[in-house]
Subunit: 581 residues, 2 copies
Amino acid sequence: MSAADLMAVLLAKSLRYDWADPHHANNDRLVFSKGHACPVLYAMYKAAGAIDDKELLSLRKFDSRLQGHPNPHVLPYVDVATGSLGQGLPIGVGMAINGKFLDKLPYHVWVVLGDSEVAEGSIWEAFDKASYYKLHNLTAILDMNRLGQRGETDLGWNSAAYAARARAFGWHVIELDGHDLPAIDRAYAEAQQQKDKPTCLIAKTLKGSGVSFIADKDGWHGKALSADQAKQAIAELGGERHIVVKTPTPDRRAPEAKATAALLKLPSYALGGKEATRKAYGDALTAIGAARPDVVAIDAEVSNSTHADEFKKAHPDRFFEMFIAEQQLLGAAVGMGVLGKCAFASTFAAFFTRAYDQIRMAAISGATIRLSGSHAGCSIGEDGPSQMALEDLAMMRAVHESTVLYPCDANQTAALVEQMANLSGISYLRTTREKTPTIYGPGEKFPVGGARVVKRSDKDRAAVIAAGITVHEALKAYENLKAEGIAIRIIDAYSIKPIDATTLSETAKAVGGKLVTVEDHWPEGGLGDAVLAALATRPLDGLRVVKLAVRDMPGSGTPTELLHAAGIDGEQIVQAVRSLL
Amino acid sequence: MSAADLMAVLLAKSLRYDWADPHHANNDRLVFSKGHACPVLYAMYKAAGAIDDKELLSLRKFDSRLQGHPNPHVLPYVDVATGSLGQGLPIGVGMAINGKFLDKLPYHVWVVLGDSEVAEGSIWEAFDKASYYKLHNLTAILDMNRLGQRGETDLGWNSAAYAARARAFGWHVIELDGHDLPAIDRAYAEAQQQKDKPTCLIAKTLKGSGVSFIADKDGWHGKALSADQAKQAIAELGGERHIVVKTPTPDRRAPEAKATAALLKLPSYALGGKEATRKAYGDALTAIGAARPDVVAIDAEVSNSTHADEFKKAHPDRFFEMFIAEQQLLGAAVGMGVLGKCAFASTFAAFFTRAYDQIRMAAISGATIRLSGSHAGCSIGEDGPSQMALEDLAMMRAVHESTVLYPCDANQTAALVEQMANLSGISYLRTTREKTPTIYGPGEKFPVGGARVVKRSDKDRAAVIAAGITVHEALKAYENLKAEGIAIRIIDAYSIKPIDATTLSETAKAVGGKLVTVEDHWPEGGLGDAVLAALATRPLDGLRVVKLAVRDMPGSGTPTELLHAAGIDGEQIVQAVRSLL
C-alpha cells in the first residue's frame, strides 16, 4: 500500500509495456526488488488486464502463479525472482547495460526498492556500477515507508540521508511525497529525460497508506486483516472498483543488428604440452565470442587471472568490468541472461561464495548464466587459504538444476566451455591456476554428464576417480603402481554434476568395488560425495570407497607441497589404493 | 609500499599495542582488510621486534607463519584472516562495538582498506552500521593508490568522491597525502579525538611508493622484483636498515566487570505439546544469556521471526541489530567472537547464503561463532522458494571443522543451543518455521555428534533416517506401516556434522541394510549425502539407500501441500520403505 500510488502512476503513464508480449525486447522492465510487495505488483497485472480477479485471489495458494514472492518460473510478466532483498537493483543494472550497450534499445528499467533493503551492500555495488556505466535508462524507486519487518529502519524517514548517499554514488536524485500523484508523474518524466545518470526517486510513503488503522503503524508487516478490518479498509479506500488501466506500449524496435556469426574455431593445444585450464577458458570464450554475437563476458577485477581478459581484448564492446563486487557480477549476469544474452561471469572460484545467495536466486528465476571460477583448491600455492576455493563444488552442486564441470586439461576445457554456451540454467566451470599437462588431443569429445576412462586394462584391481588437478596426481599413482605390476583404472570425472553414474557403476564392478576418490576440496559435498550418491542408486556389494580430500587447513607453499600436505598427491593415492588391495 | 608511510606513523605514534601480550583486552586492534598488503604488516612485526629477519624472509613459504595473506591460525598478532576483500571493516565494526558497548575499554580499532575493495558492498554495510552505532573508536585508513590488480580502480584518485560517500554514510572524513608524515600524524590524532563518529582517512598514495621504476606504474600487482631490480629498489629506499620501533602500550585495563553469572535454567516444553524450534532457540538463548554474561545476540532485521527478539527483550544491552545486512551480521559475530564474546547470529537460514564467503573466512580465522538459521526448507509454506533454505546444510557442512545441528523439537533445540555456547569453530543450527510436536521430554540429552533412535524393535525391516521437520513425517510413516504390521526403525540424525556413524552403521546392520534418508533440502550435500559418506567408512554388503529430498522447485502453498509436492512426507516415506522390502 505504501507503493500503490507510485505504481499506479507508473502503470498508467510511464511504463512502456506490451502485456500481450511480455518478452518483447523493447519493453520497459519492472523489477520488484522488494519482492514481498508483490500484492501491488499482482494488482497491477489485474489492472492491466493481464490476470483476472479469480487468479488475483489465488495469492500464495498452492499451484498459484501468484506466489508469496514474484517468480518467473510461473509468471511471464516477471523477469527475475526476488524475495532475497537487495538483488533487484544489481539485476536492473545488468538489464540497463544490456539496453544501453548491447541491444541499444530505448527501454527503461524501473526498480522498486524497499528502504529496509538499502542496508544490503549489494545495493551499493549496484549504485556504484550504475553511475560508472552512466545508466540514464535506470530508475530506482525507493519506497521510503520507514517501517521494516520488526520496527523502524535505521534511517527512518531521513530522506536527506538517502539522497546524500545516492548523490555521492553519482546518481540523479529526486525527493518526493510518494502519495502526491502529480509529483510522482513529474519525477518519472524527469527520470526519463536523464542523459548520463541513473535516477533515484526517494519517495516518502506511509506503510498501509489509505487505511486509518494501519497507516504508519508498526506491527502489521506480513499480517492479514480480519474480515471486519478488510471491510473497513476497502470502504476507506473508496469501495470495490474495477479499474482498467491502459499501459503505454513501446515502439516495436528490435535489438541492434548483430554482426554475422562466424564459424566456431575452438582453440587447440598440443598433446603433451602444458597450459592452465583458466587460460583455456579465456581462449575458448574468446573463440565462442567470435562465433556468437550474443556472448558477453563480465569479471570482478581479476580478468588477468581468470583470463577473461582474452575476451576483453578481442571483444571489448561485450566485456563489462564489475570491479571487486561479486554480487553485482551475478546481478549483471542474471540481468543480461534473462534478456537473452549468453553471459559468462568469472572470478576466483573462492569468491563466488560471496554471491551464493544471488546464484541460489538465479536458479529460482530459471535464469541461464555461466560461471567460471579460477584458482580452485590448495593447488594454487603461495597465496594461502583465503584464495583457495575448497567448498565451491559443494556450493554449486546444491543449486537447483545446476551443471558443475571441472576440466583437467586445456583441450577438455575448450570442449566444456563450448557446451556451457548452449546449456540452460546455472553452469559452473572450475579451473586451475597452475599449468597442467595436456593429456587429451584437440577436438576430443567430453559430453556434459560423461566421464572419461583415462587408463584401463582387464587386470585393474582398483579405480581412482579424480577430476581437474587430481587427474594428474592419479596418473602419477598409475605409473608408480604399474612399475610394481599393479594395474589400476583411472576415471576423469570432469562432469561433477550431472555425474556419469553408468561409468562409475561399471568401473566399480570391473575392479571389484575398490575405489579411491580424490579431490582438491573439503571432504563434504564435492566429488567424493557425488560419487557415493551416484553409486547409491546402483548398489554393489563389496563396494569399498576411500575418499581423499583436503582435511586440514592449508597454509602457503608450492602447489606440490600443498597437495602433499593435504594428502591428495600421487604418493597418497598409491597408499590409498594399497589400503584397498 | 603505498601503505608503508601510513603504517610507519601508526606503529610509532598511534597504535597502542603490547607485543608481548597480543591478546590483551585493551590493545588497539589493527585489521588489514587489504590482506594482500601483508608484507608491510609483517614488516611492522619485524620493526616492533615481534619477529626476526629470518622469519620475515620466510614469506609465503611452506610452514611459514607469514602466509600470502594474514592468518591468525598461525600468527598471534593477527585477529582475523583477510584476503577475501571487503571483510576487514565489517569485522572492525564488531570489534569497535565490543569496545564501546560490551568491554567498555578505550582501545581503538584501525582498519587498513584498499581502494579496490571499497567496491564491495560489505564495506558499505559496515560504513552504515559504524555510524549507526556512533563508533568513534573505529578508524578506516583508505590506501587510495589508484591501481587495482588489473588496472585503475573505478574511482582512481577521486578523493572527493570517496569523501562524499563516507560523509553521506555518517563518517568523519580526513583527506590527506598518504606519504606526508606530519599530515598522517595529525590525521590519526584527529581520529582518536572523535566522540561520536567513526573516521575515514582517505590517503592519496602511490603504489610502489619510493621506487622510481615501480611507483604509480600499472602491471606490478603481485609481481616480484628481479635481483637487480631489488638491489636498485633498496638503494632508492635508502639502503638496508634495521629500524626498531617502540610502539605505545595501552593501559592495562580489564573489561568492565560482568554481572555474576546465574545458574543456567534452560526452558522446557511439555511432552506432547507443540512449539517451533525457532522459538525454542530464542528461549534457550535468553536463558543462556542470563547464565553467561559473555553471550551476545545479533540479528539481521528478522528477530521477530528468528526469535532472537526474546534475547533482546531480556538482555537489551547485549543485542545488536544489524538490519538487513547479512555480511555485516557475520562481520560483527567474528569481530566480537575473536575478542572473547560468545556471539550468536541469526537470520533466515536462506539468507546465510549471502554471507558464505564470510563464514568460509571465519573458519580460516579459526573464529568461534554460532549461527542460527530459521525458516529452513519448503515446509515454511506460502512465502515461496526465495525464503526456503534448501542448500544450507550443504553449504554449512562444507565449512572447515563446522558443526551442523538440526533439531526436530523444542526440548532438543534447547539442549543443542546450550552445547553450541561451548563449541569451538563455526556452529550452525537449522530451525523450522512451523510448530512441531514436542516428542522429547525436558532435560533429555542430545550430545553433538550423536543420533537418537526414536523407534526400534527387534523386527525392524528398514530404517528411516530423518532430521528436523522430517522426523515428524517419518513418525507418520512409522504409524502407518505399523498398522500394516511392518516395523521400521526411526533415527533422528539431529547432528548432521559430525554425524553419528556408529549409530548409522549399527542401524544399517540391524535392518539388513535397508535405509531411507529424508530431508527438506536439495538432494546434494545434505543429510542423505552425509549418511552415505558416514556409511562409506564402514562398508556393509547389502546396503540399499533410498534418498528422499526436494527435487523440483517448490512454489507457495501450505507446509503440508509443499512437503507432499516435494515427495518427503509420511506417505512418500511409506512408499520408499515399501520399495526396499
